[in-house]
């Protein structure tokens, strides 16, 4: 009989055989397959989680390799979408785990479609807008989620249990204007790993139903300055919160509040989303772009067009990433110009 691959985990008494069995039945949604997403996904898959769904709108690039542990030089060279590369690698790690990679934007529609099958959402995203959407969905559907973020040598994480803890909207009454991003302040891999260590430990506690062991605090750290804070936040829960309070309007799920463009974290890149999902014919599109004098390369997942000052990457669903710019208006113009 083969040795139980989880023997070192079941020997850990808070988990045991019963905890392991529960893990094998659970479905975790990971939003983002970048630094946080790669690491949380790998850790959970190795630990024997039943099912993972991982969503990411981007593809692998060389500068990701410093900290995004699932990807290789080959993935970057071939511009493989992160969700695809992640799915492939995770399947090689644990063939017993059901893994679904989704290449695309984590929109309200997409998330509401799958949330009923989800036991826990792990935040591995790169912008506040999506986090507020996840937060509204979590409270609306009663699914716990674990906020996580990092930059430089700092990181922070908080576990949100619907109806029990304050939600992110309670904590963030004012939306921050400009955060620091990884392309201005950088990021070191250990900062990623410490956030992930906390997120996955909290996840294990929730999934094996040991909620008493949860940390309960908002945890913030700086590894370079050797400081950390474990903040008690129960006072932050607000009865007038529009997401989790007495009168709930879930403001971040309303159509008017969802933007169609986004500046990508850590990149000189603007993402553009069409107002309705498309299914593009790449062959036809590539031909017509080449005819118009553009330099075009492609793989099964995306079309890469070199413009004079910008590189333009188009996905099948009509989304585009416009590189070498943070100017949303300029990016939109290029999009309209190319797509006709």
């Amino acid at each position: 009989m083969r040795e139980n691959r989880y023997s070192r985990q079941t020997l850990f008494s808070p988990i045991g055989d019963s905890g392991q069995s529960l893990l094998g039945k659970k479905h975790v949604l990971i939003i983002g397959a970048g630094a946080l997403g790669s690491s949380t996904a790998e850790m959970l898959v190795r630990s024997g989680i039943g099912r993972i769904t991982i969503i990411d709108r981007d593809y692998v690039e060389r500068s990701n390799l410093q900290r995004q542990q699932l990807y290789t030089e080959r993935d970057a060279k071939n511009r493989i979408p992160k969700a695809i590369a992640a799915e492939k690698r995770l399947r090689e790690i644990n063939g017993d785990c059901e893994i679904t990679g989704i290449v695309g934007e984590a929109t309200v529609e997409l998330l509401e479609d799958i949330i009923e099958e989800i036991d826990l959402i792990i935040d591995a995203s790169d912008n506040m807008e999506i986090r507020m959407i996840i937060n509204d969905l979590s409270i609306k559907h009663g699914v716990p989620w674990i906020y996580g973020a990092c930059v430089g040598s700092s990181g922070m994480t908080f576990t949100i249990l619907p109806e029990i803890t304050p939600c992110l909207h309670c904590l963030l009454q004012v939306m921050p204007m400009n955060g620091m991003s990884c392309d201005t302040a950088g990021i070191i891999s250990p900062a990623v790993q410490l956030v992930v260590a906390h997120q996955v430990t909290e996840a294990l506690k929730i999934l094996i139903q040991d909620k008493n062991s949860l940390r309960g605090t908002f945890y913030s750290f700086d590894l370079w300055n050797n400081t950390s804070q474990n903040i008690k936040v129960s006072r932050a829960k607000r009865t007038d919160c529009r997401t989790c309070g007495k009168e709930r309007s879930y403001p971040f799920l309303q159509k008017e509040n969802q933007t169609k463009t986004a500046i990508l974290c850590g990149r000189d890149t603007v993402q553009i989303r069409p107002s309705f999902k498309k299914e593009l014919n790449f062959t036809y599109l590539a031909e017509s772009l080449v005819k118009r004098g553009y330099k075009v390369t492609q793989n099964p997942f995306l079309l890469n067009v070199q413009l004079k000052d910008n590189r333009f990457v188009l996905f099948k669903d009509g989304r585009a990433l416009v590189h070498q710019t943070k100017d949303v208006v300029h990016a939109k113009n290029l999009y309209d110009q190319l797509m006709g």
Partner: protein
Amino acid sequence: MVKLLFFAGIKERIGVEELYLETSNQTIAQLKNYLQVSYPNLQLDGVLVAINEEFALDDDMVQDNDTIAFIPPVSGG
């Protein structure tokens, strides 16, 4: 005397990770104001403030020997 701790973007803008301040009978709101005036390019939108590792509201009073942490919401990942 109180100790102020700064994280992430706030640490970057101020230039240090901690400051000691002589202060008495100030509220968190007043402290935030003082920081904003002393460091004009500081971004305090949405900052989480904790006194001795407990979430603090703008009206809370700061006392001698308190440690006050200023944690800006980070969005990277």
